[in-house]
Every structure is written in structure tokens, then in C-alpha cells.
Amino acid sequence: MIRPLLAALMLTVALPAAAETVAITGGRVVTMGGAGEIARGTVIVRDGRIVAVGADVPVPPGARIIDATNRIVTPGLVASGTALGLIEVRAVESTDDRGTRKSDISAAFDAGYGLNPDSLLLPVARLGGITSAIATPAYDDAAGRELLFAGQAAAVLLGGAPMLMKRGVAMVLDMGDAGAERAGGARAAELVALQAIFAEVRDFARRRAAYDRGETRDYTLSRVDLEALLPVVEGRMPLLVSVNRASDIRDALAMAREEKVKLILEGAGEGWRVAREIAAAKVPVLLTPIENNPVSFEMLGATLGNARRLAAAGVTIAIQGNGNHREREMRYNAGNAVANGLPWQAALAAVTINPARIFGLADRIGSLEPGKAGDVVIWDGDPLETVARPVSVLIGGVEQPMTSRATELRDRYLPAITQNRSTGEKQ
């Protein structure tokens, strides 16, 4: 009885802001959509959605105007490969919901549950211009664990409750060093295990009724894991494979081809060495373009030129941040890719429309186009620059507070310093 009432209350609270019509005027609008870049444009957001974008768009009567003159207007950034909403303090286990130690919930682990819209990390990410994210499960690497899939990633919004935008946007799997470790210590073992699992899932799909009657052979996977992998083997849910070594990337591409599963590569430290093969397979890549450190034997070919070379070969790339608390650095990572040869437009695409496309969200987010969510960021300079910052962030047409716990801490302690200093100077 209480629930409907609560829902109604929440709606009425949420409505006034969302129902507002907002006109962002005068800015340089980089739409990342068909309209390209508009030197001096207007973006109209009504009821949380973009309704018009252009140079000669009239401001509707009654619209609240946000003056973006001399500012840059972009779509909100889309962070991929994060745990935003799933983690608070890494060293505090009770605040870390990225993964499970339970052995019969592997593929079935769903990051779309247990999301925390009150996480302190969300305002910090928003202040970096991030408006949505792919909340991605991580393996809980307790000793002796042998779990092939980390689980399913979910698309989330950072504008407060409810966070969930879309469940099951990818199935997360480590290959390479980490995957081999979980499969018993060798790459070959993981590839064989994957073949066996996919065969089992297909078998399960054909014999579900028999399975429920107990008339099938014993499967190695739990029922929930079998169910969770159905959309993967049917090619509806992409397999998000974390992999770095050139040969491992080739193995992943071959596996996907043979098993007819959709693939997204993450990491791809040596991706540039097999860029043409990745492009030919039409497989997108999520990467951290500053990763040039040969941190392991699967990363010997890591280079700052990775993003540029992948993009030049025609691979769709998305640029990631530096993880959770440091997710806001994704725009600097994109800037560093530009410093190393990636065209600026391609770098901005890699933090907006590309991740939206890769995760099947391009109908909702990733560009400033009519019909899409009113996720808009207004910047006081180049969004990829260390020396620029967002001045305004809208999610679903609602202006977000430009504060975080960190800025509150700053504002608590700053006056004592500046007052002390100015008194000192007077003396």
C-alpha cells in the first residue's frame, strides 16, 4: 500500500524540474549528431528531452534561459567501464558491490541491481561533465576463485534516483592473463571452457522444458547463469572482453566469430598492432589512451599512439577514465589522445556518442539531437582541457548542483586560509 503512494510522491517531487523548458543559448554547440558543430546555437530541452538544436531556433515563451555565450556546449559524457553506483570506498568491503564470491552467480550477476544513487562518487563525476555511465561488474578475486564471467553491465544515469537506464548492456569477461588465471592458469583452458559453456547454453536453450523436468544431463552452470548467457549466444548481448595482447585479441575475435557472439574489446593495450583485424570484425574498443606502460607481458606493445591508430584503422573507440573516484579524468585522457594524434572530434566522440552506440544507447544519449535525453554540459573552455571546467551540467533537462562533498570540504576550510593570508599581508 505504501509503495504506490511513495511512487506518486516521488513523481510529484521530480516533475516540476523535469517539466521545465530550458533554452541554452549563444554557445558553440558541438552536437556530435547530424547537425555537427554550430558556431552559435541554441539547445531547447523540454520535459527532460531535447526538442530542438540549431542556429536559428526560437526560444519558446516561458523557457528558462541559460546563457552559454562564449562557452562550449556538448552532450554529457558517457563513462564506460566504471563502477559508479557500485562502490564507495575501495578498502571498505561493505561499500564495494562490484562483484560476488558466489560461484553459482557468475554470468547472472547483474550490476543493474544494488545501485546507490547517493554515492559520493556521482557528484564528483558530474563535475567532470559525466552524465551517464556503464556500471560494470568486476571479479571479486578471492583466493581460489574460478569464475569465468564477472556478470552483466548496466547503463546508469548520474542525476540521482533512479539510476538504472538499461540493464544487461554487456556480459563482462576477462581474457588474456587474468582470464587464463581464472580458467586454471592457461589461455587455452579458458578458450576451451568458453566453447563448452556456450555449447551448454545452446543445449539448455533447446531443452528448457526437459531441464525443468530434470531430464537433461547435469550442466556445469547454474540455472541463473544459463539464463543470463542466452542473450549472449543469441547475439543480443555483447560480450565485453578485457584483453590486451595482440594474439589474445586475435583469439577473442576468432572466438566471437566461431561462436557468433557480439564482441566489445576493453583495454586492448596492443590493439594498434591488430587494428585492421579489429576494424574488419566491426568490433568496438574501450580504452585508456594514456596506458603506455609495459606493466605486464601482455602490455609490452602499449603506446600513446593506440587510440590514434585504432581510430585511423576505422575502429569505433570509446575512451575511459581512470576508474571510479578518478572517472572525471576521462576527458583528460581524451585530451591526451589528441595530444598524441587523435583528431579532436574523434576524441570527443569517444567520450559521448561512441560509448552510447557501443552499448546500444544511441537512441537516448550521446549527442545533442531532438528526441534524446537532455544530458547537456556547458564548459568554460575546451572540454578535453585540464584548464577548462564545466559550468553547468544538465541530466534529463535538470540542472545538477555544481557541488560535491569535496567542494563542501573545500568551502569549509578555505576561508580560514584566505582570511589568515590577507590579514597577514596587511600586517
Binding site: E270, R273, V295, L300, A339, T386, V387, R410, L414
Partner: protein, 465 residues
Amino acid sequence: MGSAAERTVLGAGRLVGAALLLAVGCVAAAQDVGGGDPFTSTYRPAPHPPLAIVGASILTGTGAEIATGTVLVRDGKVEAVGADLAVPDGYQRIDGRGKWVTPGIIDAHSHLGVYPSPGTPSHEDGNEAVSPNTAEVWAEHSVWPQDPKFRLARGGGVTSLMVLPGSANLFGGRSATLKNVPAVTAQAMKFPGAPYGLKMACGENPKRVYGGKGRAPMTRMGNVAGYRKAWIDAADYLRRWEKWEKGGKAGDPPKRDLQLETLAGVLKGEILVQNHCYRADEMAVMIDVAREFGFRIRAFHHANEAYKIAPLLAKEDICVATWANSWGAKMESLDGIEENAPMIDAAGGCAIIHSDDGLLIQRLNQEAGIAMTAANHAGMTIARGQAIRWITANPAKAMGVADRVGTLEPGKMGDVVLWSADPFSVYAVAEKVWIDGVLSWDRADPRYQGSSDFVLGQPGQEFAR
């Protein structure tokens, strides 16, 4: 006789003199409480042509910004810096127009070489985590000069760095201050004459590492008891040596103790305390511990909460080496803010942006830019000339080498970076890096990008990283 030759002779003379002094120092020191430095630096910069970088915007590291100026470097030293300098004959002329020049970047907190790449167990030599007090270990004995990250850091403009032991222990051991030059031995990287640091650690790490083993320290109060107990032993050790020395060194000297030797070096003011410490309240306790035993803390590292006690840290003249972006991995870093370094600076303190990381060390300039921008956004006024000190002059101070590096002032080591753009911009890259006047990195010339032995012949080395 040309002046160039004269100066070369003079320079060489000085070098020999310095080497003699060092050698004498070692002999003497071996007899006293300090123990000396048996692992003498063998670093000798190569000869180089005199150099003039002309027409660039210059951040001198002293706080000044010269809109367009010239930097002269000869015999490994900065010779002159100014807006209207004539370039003497015979100088190699570098066109700096449209570019920026800064002192070489200095990282006051690195684990390069002791946690090298690739990160295999065979290479993890940064934490002697077997006892909460391992003041007897020296980071330089773990430094693997073939760590590929040294080269990557050079590409980011880093010319000097302090390599520290990890933070598992209350006393982690001695730091190694290095020039970031390609070398086959650690001795050939050692910053000549740089004082040692002693790595200490507050907070969660020591109590987690040892408490987890069911031994002390298990709590923060256990940490502090551990420090005080060690300093009592060190004071006693120092007294025994001083007694022997005051007694005309009659009879056998006290037996050397490597652990106490390092701690006594701190009490004598010769070794600089580099203290990993996140929380404001713990820093305040450490200041009291230092006062109790009569030593000084040179720098708090990481220090995410330093801004809460910025006036105290400024008054105590303790540097703060921190980040702009890192926070939240642990409870003790939950209150980290972007403006930490600028707030220390605004309080009149010594602010440092450090890396503690193999990727961040390649872009300390950007991290400083982020902190500077955040501060100015919050209504503070931090100029570029001031912010560059966070990664040049101030780390030099924390490392005890501010008389040698960190600014572009005549007589300082010729450690210079030529940037493609405003160094705080994400788009700025280090085009050329000189160390002691020697071109050590050239982004456009593979001859100056020499990779470490480890990556030589490995797959995927066709392109500069």
C-alpha cells in the same frame, strides 16, 4: 685562449674538487654515526655544446613568468635567463618561439625502479614488509635501472625524482634521489650529493599489514608507540656515538647498526623525513612526535587532508606532496579535494604535486594544471608561475636539493624542458628535455628516446610510446 675553454677547465676543476670533497666526506663519515654513503654516485654528465633556447615563454620556477625570453645553459649549468639576452657565439640555438620552457620536472614521490614494469613478483622490491621498522633498507638497492618507466617519465619532462620504499612499514627505509638519466647501474643515476630521505608511514597501511598478521601495530596508537620506541632507541644510539666521539674516539667505536644509523641520521638533521600521512589529525600527531625527539619532518606525502591544517604546516615549514585527482580509495583518503595543493600554497606553505604512479609521473604538469584551474575556479588566484613550483622548486626543497635544481637560476643544474604549449595544457608535450645540459629526450628524434634493455627487441616497439 677562448672563454669557452677556460670555463670548461674551471668547470672540470670544480667537478674534481666536488668529487674530492665527497670522497673525503665518505672516509670521515664511515667513522661516525652517519655511516657515510658507500654507494657513491658515479653519475657524470657528458660534455655538451653551450645551449641557447630563444624566444619561448619561460616559467623560471622562482614564481616568475617571462613572456618571451632566452635561457642559456653551459657546462651543465643554467648560465642566464632573461627577456633580453644576447646569444653568445658558438651556442647551439634552439628556436623556442610559440613554446614554453620550464625547469626539469621533479617528482618527490615515485616508486620507479623499485616497483618496475613489468610488475612481476620478481620485480616487487619496494616494501620490505617483514617488520614495521626497516629503517635499515635503502631504496637504491632495489632500483632496477632498466625499468621502462624511467624513459616514459623522461618523455614527460621528469629530470629528477625521489624513489621511496613503500608504505607498509612505520619506517620503510631510505629513499633514493635520482637524476632521470639512462643508466645501467643505480649509482650512475644517483643525484650527486643529495641527502637521503627516510620513508615513514602513518595510518592504515602499517596497521593493516601488521595487524593482519596479529602483531603490532594493529591500531593508530600502536603506530605512534612504534615510532616513539624507535626514536628512543635512536637517541640512545646517537648518545653512545657522541660519547665515543667526545671522548677523543678512544677505544672501540660502538658497533654500527644500520637501522639506528638511519634514524640517528634523521636526529642529526642529515636525513630528511618523508612521511606518508593522509589525515590532518595524524599529521598533527607526527609533528608532536618529531618535536618530542628533536627532529624535523621535511614533507608529508599524499596528505589528502593537509588543507585542513594548512596554516600549521606552513608555520612548521613542512612540505605537502599530494595530488589533484586521487581520493577515496581508503577511509583516510576520503576527504581528498582538488584544491589541496593550492590551499597549502595560499597558506604560505610548500605545495607539491607528486605522482606515486607510473602513468601520472608522465603528466605531473597536467595534474598541476588541474589543481591550479580548480583553485582559480574556486576564487583563489594562482598564477602559472606559482603553480609550476609545485612540480619543480618545491619538490626540490622537499628532497633537499633546492640549491641545485628546481629553478632556472644561474648556477643551477641545466635541467630544462621545452614544451610544445602552455605546460599546464592537456595538449602540451615535452618536445626536448635537457639534463645537466645534455639533450636527454627529443620527441622528434628516436636517437634521444632510447628504450630500456628490457623492452629492446620485445614486440611492439616500432613506435615511441
